[in-house]
Amino acid sequence: MSQTAILFQDVNYSADDLKILKNINGYFPEGKIATIVGPSGAGKSTLFKLCNGLRSPDSGEILIKGKPIINFHPVELRRKVGIALQSATMISGSVLENLELPLRLQGKTIDIEFAKELLHDVGLDGDFLMRNAKELSGGQQQKLSIARTLVNQPEVLLLDEITSSLDRVSQHDIEELIEKINEKYGTTMIWITHNLEQALRIGQYTWVMMNGELIESGESSLLRNPQDKRVQEFVKGEIV
């Protein structure tokens, strides 16, 4: 088995007396691209928030490269484990201000050439820098959100449905970008996707979550012939 980037041990999480994550045991391999698939409301986004310290588990432990999450300073953890949020939220202001945000939070400024390069990497034109970020299309905001998360140069990158509102071509470009970063920096990628074809295409490892539970995990090929009845039902008709 390769090194483990994130390890979950008996992790439970609930909010408002609602059990959202139930006894999660599993891991994500270091330096690889892994995917999480599962129906809406399975608890996928919540799992990410636990990894990045936005929420804490009620019980159980999460280890990042062997070190329990509680032993990290929250700020350090969040820079190490970055999330591109599902909502691709923009702050008011220009594209540049959004890109610069992670650095501004540390009292630094961004180099314009670096900003343009990042935009280019995610498939946005350099002249976008001065545009109002809130007026970009949903897909453009997703691209910007990815670029913004990259600014912190995280060791683990959590991508929450980052291509859900992109056309096929842009989707493909982002997949290539993520693969490129993964190869170049050895960044561990965990990618939540609704698209099982995408999971098979880009991920070496996968988790299938349903109803707050981790049902199956392993090599992505498990999606082709799952063991669990519920997973069989879920993948039926999705993979050709």
Binding site: N52, G53, R79, L85, L101, L105, R148, T149
Partner: protein, 250 residues
């Protein structure tokens, strides 16, 4: 004013009552309650003031101020019910504002240290501080709610709670203090301030009335800005826990 004249002022209560009745505005009940309450409350205050002025005892004075602060806290806390511990935060803010303004006024002998000055000025300071508190809390809770995503975004990127709430905090402080500042720009041009009008009607020299009004206006500027800032900085930490997680507001 004679009691007959005072009774005749009730005509001004009858007008809205009649209008409300004819146009079915449904304001009768509230108008009546407001009228009765204002009569009782003001008369009671009048007698209490008379007593406190005559007694000239610091204990009564402090009790009176405490009562005002208590009432203001009680009134404003509902607006900030979603913020943990808002009651004592408001209380501390009002106490601080009162202490700050009075120590400047009395410390520099700007006004004489008698209940005749201290009580009315305290009333205006605490009353305005209360209104500002309500304006601020209204806006701040709305900003927190509407911009939860931004707060969470900044936290995920490794920002501190203060950075995550900064825009909401500044927007709310500005929005709540702007009316005070703006209204002072046109004061005297459109309407004469209530206190000054009262003094002039009671026979005071208009220039002296203006001097006191200016004093009050400047105090109210401090009151407005300090109230919002203080409440803001007391409130925002309770929105987060030690792990720098944004707590869902109740």
């Amino acid at each position: 004013m004679s009691y007959l004249a005072l009774s005749l002022t009730l005509i001004f209560v009858l007008i809205p009552l009649v209008l409300s009745r004819t146009l079915r505005l449904g304001l009768e009940k509230d108008t009546l309650i407001a009228t009765v309450r204002s009569i009782i409350q003001l008369l009671a205050v009048g007698y209490v003031l008379q007593y406190v002025f005559e007694a000239d005892n610091i204990i009564f004075l402090l009790l009176m101020i405490l009562l005002m602060i208590g009432a203001a806290t009680q009134n404003a806390r509902k607006k900030g019910a979603s913020i943990r511990g808002i009651t004592w935060k408001l209380f501390i803010t009002f106490v601080f504002i009162e202490a700050l303004t009075q120590s400047i006024l009395l410390g520099f002998s700007i006004v004489p240290p008698t209940p005749q000055y201290i009580i009315p000025i305290s009333g205006m300071v605490i009353g305005n501080s209360m209104v500002l508190g309500i304006l601020f809390l209204n806006r701040f809770t709305a900003e927190i709610e509407n911009r939860q995503d931004e707060t969470e975004l900044i936290l995920t990127l490794g920002g501190t709670p203060k950075q995550a709430i900064h825009t909401q905090l500044i927007t709310s402080i500005k929005a709540s203090t702007i009316p005070t500042i703006e209204s002072q720009k046109t004061i005297g041009l459109v309407q004469l301030p209530g206190m000054m009008s009262g003094q002039i009607i009671a026979g005071a020299d208009p220039v002296q009335a203006v001097q006191f009004q200016l004093l009050i206006l400047f105090i109210l500027l401090t009151t407005a800005v300090v109230t919002s800032i203080m409440l803001g900085f007391l409130s925002y930490p309770t929105l987060f826990n030690k792990r720098m997680q944004f707590l869902k507001i109740r």
